[in-house]
């Protein structure tokens, strides 16, 4: 069920990207609604996916312009994802490059 939910989510994103910037607000609203439906499943089973999905929803729910708050949220998410990845990579014997 989890796999199906996430596959559905990503298929929605796939369908959405070509429409971005076109102004199909009703389509975007429908997709955001569908994404929000999937969030509880992700929350219960794969929380690593939750923050990126929430950020995508926030982006798509906006007016069409990227806001400073969205960029700030994205950068905070980056930091979390990067830190988790580097911790896993280091544990597996792939030390973080000094200059990264």
């Amino acid at each position: 069920m989890l796999s199906t939910a996430i596959q559905t989510l990503l298929a929605l994103i796939q369908g959405l990207l070509p429409t971005l910037g076109v102004g199909s607000s009703s389509v975007v609203a429908e997709i955001v609604s569908a994404l929000e439906t999937i969030v509880p499943v992700i929350t219960a089973n794969a929380q690593n996916f939750l923050a990126p999905v929430q950020a995508i929803i926030a982006t798509l729910s906006g007016s069409g312009a990227v806001t400073a708050a969205q960029v700030s949220t994205l950068q905070a998410l980056d930091a979390q994802c990067d830190a988790a990845f580097e911790a896993a990579a280091n544990a597996d014997g792939f030390p973080t490059p000094a200059a990264s």
């Binding site: 990503l10 369908g15 990207l17 990126p52 982006t59 990227v66």
Partner: protein, 138 residues
């Protein structure tokens, strides 16, 4: 333990599906610029892919008679640099976002920058395919 394996299997299975979907979605832009919202979604999608890679690296190492869901060192060797390279592309895009204060409406970013991230995502997909990561989840 079985539940944990199930979740990990689903997680890595989603990784392959995710990379494939995102690769298809984040296609090469042919115009000179792309909307900032598109770049935002791509950057967030990369973060999701990075989370998937993290999940893979947290799997136990494959050994004879070991866990059914496991990682190989060769796959890890390919995934780690690909993620780090993609991260650089993502950061470069973010450096172009919302440089004004407040952000200008209908902001765009150069397609070349966007395409670098798209290429990084495609590269990650190739890494997953090359090492047939999906097969370890079945």
């Amino acid at each position: 333990m079985n539940m944990r394996k199930l979740i990990l299997a689903a997680f890595v299975s989603a990784a392959l599906a995710g990379c494939t979907s995102v690769e298809n979605a984040v296609s090469v832009a042919t115009s000179a610029a792309v909307p900032a919202t598109t770049a935002m979604v791509a950057a967030n999608s990369f973060d999701a892919i990075e989370s998937v890679a993290t999940g893979y690296l947290q799997l136990p190492l494959c050994v004879t008679g070991g866990a059914l869901t496991c990682r190989t060192q060769s796959a890890s060797k390919a995934i780690v640099p690909a993620i780090r390279s993609g991260r650089a592309a993502r950061n470069a895009i973010e450096g172009l976002l919302c440089s004004g204060s407040p952000c200008s409406p209908n902001q765009t970013i150069p397609a070349a920058s966007y395409n670098t991230l798209a290429a990084a995502i495609t590269s990650l997909d190739a890494v997953y395919a090359q090492y047939n990561i999906a097969s370890v989840t079945k």
